[in-house]
Structures are given as C-alpha cells and as structure tokens.
Symmetry: C2
Amino acid sequence: MSQLGKRIARKIDKAILQFGLLEPHDKVVIGLSGGKDSLALTKILGDKGASERYPIPFDVEAVHVRTDFAEYPAGDDFLEIVKSWGIKVTVLEVPVKQRLREGHSLNCWWCSSQRRLEMARYAAEVGANKIALGHHLDDILETFLMNASGKGELSTMLPRMAYDKYPQTIIRPLAWTHEEEIRDYVRQLGLESFTCTCEWDTRSPRKTARRALEELCAGRPRAKDLMFRALANPVNRYLPEVVSEPSSRISDSQKMR
Amino acid sequence: MSQLGKRIARKIDKAILQFGLLEPHDKVVIGLSGGKDSLALTKILGDKGASERYPIPFDVEAVHVRTDFAEYPAGDDFLEIVKSWGIKVTVLEVPVKQRLREGHSLNCWWCSSQRRLEMARYAAEVGANKIALGHHLDDILETFLMNASGKGELSTMLPRMAYDKYPQTIIRPLAWTHEEEIRDYVRQLGLESFTCTCEWDTRSPRKTARRALEELCAGRPRAKDLMFRALANPVNRYLPEVVSEPSSRISDSQKMR
C-alpha cells in the first residue's frame, strides 16, 4: 500500500477508535455510490475487514444504490473493480425520480433519504448493524458551516450516528480524512474517472460552504483538523448566553431568530 | 434620526435586552478608537444615555486611547464632532510601541490589551462599571471562524464579558449590527473619512476569516443573523463526541489535536 494509502488507513483507524465506530464482529455495509469517496472507503475498509491481523474483527460488504437519474460516465466498471478487490457488491435499483410525490421536485435531501432507506432495508435483510458512508472531513466541516449560516445551529454530520427509524448505526470512517487526500489516493489507484456526476450537487448550498471553507483554511495545512477538533470542543464560557428575549415593543426582531 | 439610524438603535436595544448589557444607573465608558464602529456606537449609545425617555437610565462618556503608531488621516476632528454631540471625551496617550518588551514585536493582541488596560484604569478612576466596545456582528462571526480554524475551539467575543483582572464588564452593544449597516450610517453622518488606519490589521488572520464569512453569506441577507444565533445554539446531539483517544501505536496523530 502506498504511503498515502497508509496515511488514510491510519486516519480511518483514528476515527474508528476515537468515535467508537466499530465493535468486534460488527457486520458493516458500505454505501458505494461510485464516487471517489466511497471507492476509497471501500478499498481501505474492505482490506481491514479482510485482514486477520486487524485488532477489531468485522465483516464488510458494499451496496450500490442505482438511481434513475445519476450518470456513470465509466459505466459499471467500478463494480467489477471493487469485486476484484475481493469485496462482495450488491446493486439495488431505486427509482428516486419516480418516487417523488405529486408537486415535489427532486433535491439532494430526497435522493439521499431514499438511498439511505434502501440501504437500511438491505442491511436489515443481511443482518448488518452498521452502514458506512464515505463522507470525509471536508463534508463534515461544510455541513457545519451550512447549518450555522442556514439553520442557526451549531451542528454537523456525526462520525457515528444511531438511526431513529432503523436499527443500524451510521458510521463515517473518513471523518479525519481530507478530500484532497482521497482525490490523490483514487488517482493513484487509477480510478479518478469513476465519479458519479450529479447535476443537483452543483446547485446545492454545499458549493458555497466549500468555497468559504477553502477561503478560511487556504495555506494552513492544520486548519481543517483544528476546525474538526473544534466541533467536539464548544467552549460554553465563550459562546453568547441569552439572558432575556426582547419584547416586540423594543425590538422588531424575533428572539434569537 | 434616519431610518438606518433607527434600525441600528433597535438592534442595540435588542442586544442590551437579550444579553443584559445594561442595568439601571450603570456608568459606561465607550472605547472611541476614531474608527467607524466606535463612532456609530458613541453616537447612538450617547443619545440613549442622554435621553430621559430611555427605559434604562445610565451615564455614558467616551475615552480615546491614542497610540504611538496608529494614523489619523483626519486628525483630531472626530473628537470635536463627538463633543458636539454633547458627549464627554477624554484622550489617553499610550505609547504601545515603547512598552513592547525586549524581543517582542508589535501585534494586534499586544496593542488591544494595552488599550484595554488603560481604559480599565480610566474607568476605575471615574467609577465606571461598564466598558462598551464597537465590535459588531461581523467581528464576532469572524472571531468565531478564526477560533475554530486556528485554536480548535468553538468560541468568540462575547456581547457581555466580565473582566478577569478588572472590576469592569465589557459590553458590545453592536453585537446584532452588521458592519455594512455601520458603514452606511457613518457615511450618512458624513464621517466616513474618520477611520483610524492600522497597518497591522491588514496582515491579520481576520482578513482571511472576513473573506470566508462573505463567501459563506453572500446573497443571503439573513445568513449572518442565523450564524450569530447559532453561536448561542450548540446542538450537542449533533456535534461529534470523542469516546476514546487513539493510542500512538495505532495513530500518529494526537488526541483531538
């Protein structure tokens, strides 16, 4: 494995230990979109699952949810490549567009919730208790900025999150891994062309948050790691405390809204 | 008073009530740098202090700390203008550069700490219990981004902060006011030229945070207000929770550092 591959593997180990992502004999289903993130995750987590020397023994397989609108420029080749790594891959056909309710238009939330639903169903079928997603450090920090400036709350995607509706737990082993590292690693593997393109993503507020994050962290290699560390380190003494809500007579604005 | 002036005054009232910035019969010293922010604060808070109809009676005066390096393109005219508003202004000469310890170079932290020290001394002399500073919403959000990406903590400048070393409490009545509103208001007053220029500020990481903030909030008028609201709204359920620290054997990185 390349130096970069080893570095990402160490960061995955760090996330697994730090956030308790895996318990011995977990059965993990990896969400394999066909994009660079899930390919890198499948390659490295698949290796760990296959290794008898890995301190935490667990089973792992991949599931690819095929929607009725995403395009795969390189076709299904990535499925064959993942199989060649010795990892079981199952394809689920999900007509996300068809399922849209009357008067609703397609959006990222609807698409991802439908894909999660199918993954949870599949995981239940095969008795998997964990669903691993390819979200990386940049995704988590972008979501943090989106939630702060769009929802008025300090919150983000969690490295480990129990589902409300389903028995499985979502895990994000790439929580410490930078998108740039994944891009370079996938290029090393010669898989850079395997990126499912989605016209919707380009329109999403995520792109704005991404530009802001790059602006904030440019030229400071540790800035993103520090920012992720900050998410687990709210210093309440140095966050504003509301002591009373203004009455509408004195202020025309809503409370802390 | 102009519509914009009234809007800023309402936002000051909102901050005063929401964060408990003023109690009846407080004696407030305003830090008057000569920049647009402190001029706008002095004008509007000075009016409130002078008004018998304002629900919270308080005394207010301004203090200008003169350093040995900042330049005042328009000279001392702003002092005369503030006096013409019926507000007492006291000038303190502080040789910030001269006070530098051997081997230390000038920086924003040193300069502001020296200026705060002198303001606290002056406040003690005149029996003031509050020191009002001109930091606005953008300053608070920029500090939040700087602390997250530079210190690894969720923290910022507080609208109300008790001093550790001194008996006074720092208040920031412009906490809800956007920098853009202040710029426009100062232009309305014909005081846009009264901005003390500081070569150091242009080099500070604040500029980077400012660009990131503008990138994040561009075209979304409510985004900054929502982000400020977020600072008082950490949703611990959706912030990462560290369950164990990786050992150096498995990870070469430090704990959440």
